[in-house]
Symmetry: C4
Subunit: 250 residues, 4 copies
């Protein structure tokens, strides 16, 4: 285990922030189950403390009923375990690529939720068809290309992160806070772990409704751009008016 | 906050009616969640006191677990907040258009329930295919036209109400107590908040079954007019015989 | 209310049988809800005491949470209420036609359960596609013809029963203990109320799977006749070997 | 009942192992219900004690609420009941064929779970379309041929086992720990009863997602072989790195 000075002093601000982050990440992992996004252990949430560069993440393959704030694993941005006796999620390398690429995000989620994963298996973006989608995602939720055999064989989880970043390209990550990885499943993110989970729920709901919509009308158009703008912007940005404050509501 | 004399005297009949309405509207909002019609805060119920012209509505973006009769918001028919420290639902203007257009309705509901919203995204009316539908809706549940860019940009929520009224046209609003707004989702109404929620549940159920029906038989006909008449009228109107009284059962 | 001597003597065997039947019918109605077959009050169960010819049935339009053994309604085979202060289910006349036509049945159920009702709306029999179906229904679950306008206008519920009997024809009712009424929904029956509910659950499950099966393979064949025979007969009839006795297991 | 010496001595290791196996098999049967894989009594789990050759299995047609470790039935590999007053599951002969054919398996499950059974009714293998599938099944989940009329008429449950073995052929049973029997439903297995249930859950989830995937994209390809290898092997075999040890995690 790598040494990390900030965790040695219980009176430091770092120490307290990481303690709180452990609790938030544990809570967010439990929320995945509460929202029916996971079967068995097929999901993981992490969050980052930007000041210290430390990431708190779910341990690998541990049942949700056995998770606690205490058994969350702390890693640095290179993936070294700095605190915790369990192995971190096997998807840790993917999370870390996202934290390094997007300074504005504070939490990352991965699940195999049924509807979003079906779109991933189909290799199709989840189209923006209505205001439910537009309230959270400012356009289609993209689907990555397939990884090459080389990308799969070596550093697979790292390359999964890279293909996500490649797909998002020059777009701001927070405008479309989720993606589906081809033949695999959804990843989402947000300003913190709770918002990343919130976006994972939204992806699952809109993935479900998008398929139903196509079954009712296979020639359906994308949502009108003006309506996409209206709904996205009434919840996000400087002129937001949804919720009880002018800030971006999760 | 606008002044409103009726709320200043705890001994007035108005005061007591509003107190009861707050409780009914809170209960109706909770029922939306109990009937699995809402994800997060994506739904709202209001009700009107016709004598004072005051409307009680859910606050914007507040979690269902934090709702109470006390934090419901009271607005007048022009949308001025007359009681309550929270902002009213962002859809308030839509509700108010409906109350002004239809004196016979006492409660309004909006949700993003999965099946009804999928029909809205598909831009198709929910066809009347069986007696379950006919027991509550006297014909297809219409889908509005899309709003124009101008209608979206300014007074969007008000214009959403206007396009609903435009679609219902000269028909009696209570014969088909619900509608789907294109690319958005369902609205329903009733004599009070509870009946509006009841109709929202029915819309979701018949939307689900209508899609399944079309998947089994893509050439299915609309329900026979005589059967539509029979079922609608055995529950509604002067000769109703369903339930324990001759009045319209919700 | 019609007089009925058997109910006047608390010490009579009739009295006790009806008391038990009330409890069974109440329990069976509650089981409809427990098995997620009903929304609101959209379902009803009855059972008959063959010796006295009395039928116990759910009252019309009463919420499941308010049902009790005591508020079940007792009617004779002509539909006269002989005990109970509430109106019997509006579908009572349909139940009575079935009891009169089939002396071997002791309980009847009607619901608007989602999948079976979708087949009814589609106007198609639920095809026998696998052993789950064959364990309970010895062939396709038929769909009635549509009722004529005359049959709908007068004595609608009675005529619903008649078209069920017309559809079953010379077949034994217990070999296929359920049917779907076109544009309406499922009816099922059994030796008692509990078995009728059991068959209602099976209809809903096989209706769901039949649609999925057709979506996977639109050219699917009916189940092999030998397999239909095997599964139906291992649960029913003289050589049954499923369960803990040789009798027909529900 | 056949005599079986190992069960007569409460101090023997055999006695204790069978006692524990009864508990595991009871727990695994209850887990079927907890994971929503069964309606009524339509599922059964067994496990084998390889040293004594004794198999513990659910009794036939008993409600889940009445199951206990005590009323599980113990049979030998020829199907003779060696302990227990109830009849074993009517599918016992199928389980025994699998235990005899595959020495590496310790638990077997059969259900009529909705999605997997729909694929069985459609007569199609469940295609490997994504990593969720690849984490547990190293390729398509095969569908058996239909049984012949002769195989159905005599020794039906035994022949069901034989056609499973015929379909798996020379492949290792643990690489694809489940199958669907045409017109019938899924069987799965594992190193013990708990793992067999785990695989039954996975089959149901991937069967659901495979249909959705085809509905989104009817021309979808099978998962890339390199990705199938990667996911299967990161959870199974000598180089597994998922979970908290290097052993095969269930």
């Amino acid at each position: 285990m790598a040494e990390h000075a900030v965790l040695n002093n219980p009176r430091s601000a770092h120490f307290e922030r990481i303690r709180q982050l452990r609790h938030q990440v544990w809570q967010a992992n439990m929320d995945l189950e509460r929202h029916h996004l996971v079967t068995f252990t097929w999901g993981n949430v992490s969050a980052i403390d930007r000041e210290s560069g430390l990431v708190v993440i779910k341990p690998s393959g541990v049942a949700y009923s056995e998770l606690s704030a205490e058994n969350m694993v702390v890693v640095d941005l290179e993936g070294n375990v700095v605190e915790g006796s369990l192995k971190p999620s096997s998807d840790t390398a993917t999370h870390l690529v996202l934290y390094r690429a997007y300074p504005e995000i504070g939490g990352v989620v991965h699940t195999h939720s049924s509807h979003a994963t079906s779109w991933a298996q189909a290799g199709k973006p989840i189209p923006a068809l209505g205001t439910t989608h537009a309230d959270y995602f400012y356009g289609d939720i993209p689907c990555t290309r397939a990884l090459s055999n080389e990308e799969i064989k070596d550093d697979y989880e790292y390359n999964t992160g890279k293909v996500i970043v490649e797909t998002i390209g020059d777009n701001e990550a927070t405008a479309i806070p989720g993606i589906i990885v081809k033949e695999h499943g959804p990843f989402s993110w947000g300003k913190d772990a709770a918002q990343a989970v919130h976006n994972a729920v939204v992806m699952e709901v809109v993935a479900d409704m998008a398929l139903q919509t196509l079954q009712i009308n296979s020639n359906v158009d994308h949502i009108n751009q003006a309506l996409l703008d209206k709904h996205y912007l009434r919840k996000h940005g400087a002129n937001a008016y949804y919720g009880q404050s002018s800030s971006n509501k999760k």
